[in-house]
Symmetry: C2
Subunit: 127 residues, 2 copies
DNA sequence: TCGCTATATCGTTGATCGGCGATTAACGCT
DNA sequence: AGCGTTAATCGCCGATCAACGATATAGCGA
């Protein structure tokens, strides 16, 4: 009652109890962080969306679509590739980039993991 | 046929055509990037999961739960707060942290935006 | 073979991150 | 008022990012 943040009075130790808080899939934290890191730059989000808009690969004209130098775009593509979200395939002098659907699905699943555990959906945590 | 990356022969200009590629919500790229940036570090993912596991706020014992110094955890919490995913509420000398459900939903929605536009769900982009 | 085009890589520079210890600020309690 | 607790902030450091220009690499075509 003294605080309106937690319904079970978090200010004293009754809320922040001694439960070990064994996170179910804590090792996946790094996996999710890696995917999130790939999207942690607006340019990479735009590139990914560009690759999604086009049905498949968009070769190198990404550079023409963005206000960045070719080397910079190449760096971003490298990061996207390292995260696994994007795969590149050489086809002649060009390179086809397209989104790895499985990796995208995995990332979405990991993001979906971030769900508040609530007994009833009505009770807002109030803070 | 020369490349197996795109079904519509991306190596020449027929695939990478001149369509302006008006991204529907390109301005949202920065918004998504900001959320992704908040999750781009394993420690922050763990903190967020910690906050989700506990029903609401977890005060400062996050420090005890993680192998990091208090100042470091505070920095991560600051980043999470700046992204909007987490809100902090002062209750006495302690601070209640809990996840902003709306922001979390917004982030999930933005992540859900990243969907390949496909005519039929069967045709894999082959690369 | 010789260029031409398209990517990738290198090297540099400035900015930022992530970590820490130490200090400061805010609050409750005696 | 003074003390203890909690959290935020301040420097400081090494490491990394993001951007660029310049250079190297790889195919294709004439």
């Amino acid at each position: 009652m003294t605080d309106d943040c937690c319904e079970n009075d978090c200010a004293d130790s009754s809320c922040c109890d001694e439960s070990p808080v064994l996170l179910p899939d804590d090792d996946r934290a790094e996996e999710l962080a890696m995917y999130a890191w790939a999207l942690a730059h607006p340019a990479r989000v735009r590139i990914l969306r560009l690759l999604l808009t086009r049905k498949s690969c968009v070769c190198g004209e990404i550079v023409g679509e963005m206000p960045l130098a070719q080397s910079t775009v190449s760096q971003h593509l490298k990061i996207l590739k390292e995260s696994g979200l994007v795969k590149g395939e050489v086809s002649g002098p060009k390179v086809c980039y397209c989104v790895d659907r499985n990796a995208l699905a995995t990332m979405k699943k990991l993001v979906g993991t971030l769900t508040p555990v609530l007994s009833s959906p009505e009770e807002e945590p109030a803070c």
